[in-house]
């Protein structure tokens, strides 16, 4: 049983070492972000289950060994179990204490923003606010919201704005906030570990690209790419130019096969 425990722990470590190298190799993950996210989170789940199973099995087998051979150094073994439990407790306390200070994805510029409209749509509430910065963001939660600045509305055409909203809606619909939080807490648990940094980084990049793909399929890649280029010119953000270029390299469904989510159809009437 002890051997099986070591095998499980070994598997978990091997996954942690190999996966970042395997998954980050080549460019496939930039063209297939949804598949990359599935692979990353699937492997993460397998790794966590394997590691915890290995630890639990190790504790059980050591304890059973202690009962089978009463004169083994039982005090040492019991102490080891308690120390392990203590470390796990400290780690949990650390996460709960500091998870609030995790790097937020929240932009800093909205602190003085003033909202001038709140509109209920299917699946989200659209909040429009005055701001000179062209920005949009989604707030997940029980009553999810998408915020769009007046500057963004002025810069973009109606289809482009709809593409931006579709991107934000994809974040809400596919629980990207939760995915990012899991990756951040994992990085907090395992600071300095290459695998946890790679997992956080991959999640951050892939959720953006996956949301781009969802919006491109629903509203049209050209509208989203044009929105990205307009905003890139206004903000000098090279990342948006590169995202637009990525969209132009992929093949997309014909316009007749687009399915704009019900909640976003009304968004074309903005402006």
């Amino acid at each position: 049983m002890l051997l099986l425990a070591f095998a499980l722990l070994g598997t978990a470590i091997t996954l942690a070492v190999l996966c970042p190298r395997l998954f980050a190799a080549g460019r496939w993950h930039l063209f297939h972000p949804r598949a990359a996210l599935t692979v990353w989170f699937g492997t993460f789940g397998v790794g966590v289950v394997t590691a915890f199973s290995g630890i639990a099995l190790g504790i059980v087998s050591v304890e059973s060994l202690r009962h089978a051979i009463p004169h083994t150094p039982g005090v040492t073994v019991s102490a080891a179990v308690w120390v392990a439990a203590g470390i796990a407790g400290l780690a949990l306390a650390f996460v709960f204490t500091f998870s609030g200070s995790l790097q937020s994805l929240r932009p800093a510029s909205h602190s003085h923003a003033v909202a001038y409209a709140r509109e209920e749509h299917v699946g989200f509430t659209l909040v429009r606010f005055h701001s000179e910065t062209p920005e949009a963001y989604a707030v997940p939660g029980r009553r999810p919201e998408i915020f769009v600045s007046s500057s963004m509305e002025q810069l973009l055409s109606a289809p482009q704005l709809q593409a931006v909203l579709a991107h934000e809606f994809a974040h809400l619909r596919h629980q990207h906030g939760l995915a990012m939080r899991i990756a951040q807490i994992n990085a907090l648990f395992l600071p300095g570990i290459r695998a946890s940094r790679a997992f956080e980084r991959a999640t951050r990049l892939q959720i953006e690209l996956a949301a781009d793909d969802a919006a491109a399929r629903q509203v049209g890649a050209a509208h989203l790419a044009n929105a990205l280029l307009v905003l890139a010119a206004a903000t000098q953000d090279v990342a948006m130019t590169l995202r637009a270029e990525r969209l132009s390299r992929k093949r997309w469904p014909a316009p007749g096969r687009r399915r704009v989510p019900q909640g976003l159809q009304a968004a074309s009437q903005l402006r």
Binding site: L30, L105, R106, V127, E135, G177, A239, E245
Partner: protein
Amino acid sequence: MAGVRKREWGGLEDEVMQRLHEQEHAVSARELQRTFSEPVPAYTTVMTALTRLESKGRVERIGDSPRKISFRPLRSSEEEASETMTSALEQATDRRAALLAFAGNLADDDVAALMDAFGEATAHE
């Protein structure tokens, strides 16, 4: 048997505020109740919502006599929207939810990865 919830938590208060903003003058709870379409909340439910809104500083009670009490919003709908937005953002911080922005989320190494893959084409433009 537990009843079926007809609105989300806080939904009635939002609806009451919306209907108060639509009125030109202060209105009584009974008058406000008449503006609801199905499902029409009970008079006592409307009164409870108004009392809660008053304690939150969103509604003002006018009149001393119990038969002549009327209510009016303390802020315009635009000011309310602004207030709601601030609360939403504060709530978002409280519940430790990540805000997912359209731009600016990517770190330098993410941009570098994109640049490696797609940078040539953008450099030629």
